[in-house]
Symmetry: C2
Subunit: 87 residues, 2 copies
């Protein structure tokens, strides 16, 4: 299954698709013997700061999820964008 | 299917899992009447610059894919990390 079909399948019901959305996903896959990098939280914060330079983001429009399993760490940031209010 | 199980399922064969990997995915979902933002290429470039401040990245270790379907635009950046050489 491709990434695109995964997200097309996840698209919400039409009512909530009126808003533009931006989703940032950061996946860290540790090789054998690799340790989880301690920089992910700082990196996540800085990536959101970069995005906020392109689009106006309200703090309560940001939803952050972190999921870990084995050598995989998935950081997901969902941002609901104001209707076409770009800088 | 959760994001984590999607990527756990995609994990490569063990031989190539020796290396740490970082994957950045940016998904833009346009609401009704939304237009595709022209800033995505610049945003992508800047996000990679931010990551390169945390980990040493060789240009040929970066693989960028862009996929579009309907109102969905998926930008995928795969980065193979040098073995534990972090700044």
């Amino acid at each position: 299954m491709s990434l695109l079909s995964f997200f097309t399948g996840k698209k919400k019901n039409t009512a909530s698709v009126a808003k533009d959305r931006l989703q940032l996903i950061l996946i860290n896959e540790r090789g054998q013997g690799g340790v989880s990098p301690d920089y992910l939280p700082r990196l996540q914060k800085e990536l959101i700061e970069v995005i906020s330079r392109y689009v106006k983001i309200e703090p309560n429009d940001i939803q952050v999820n972190v999921d870990r399993q084995d050598a995989l760490e998935v950081l997901e940031v969902k941002i609901e964008l104001p209707p076409h209010l770009q800088k």
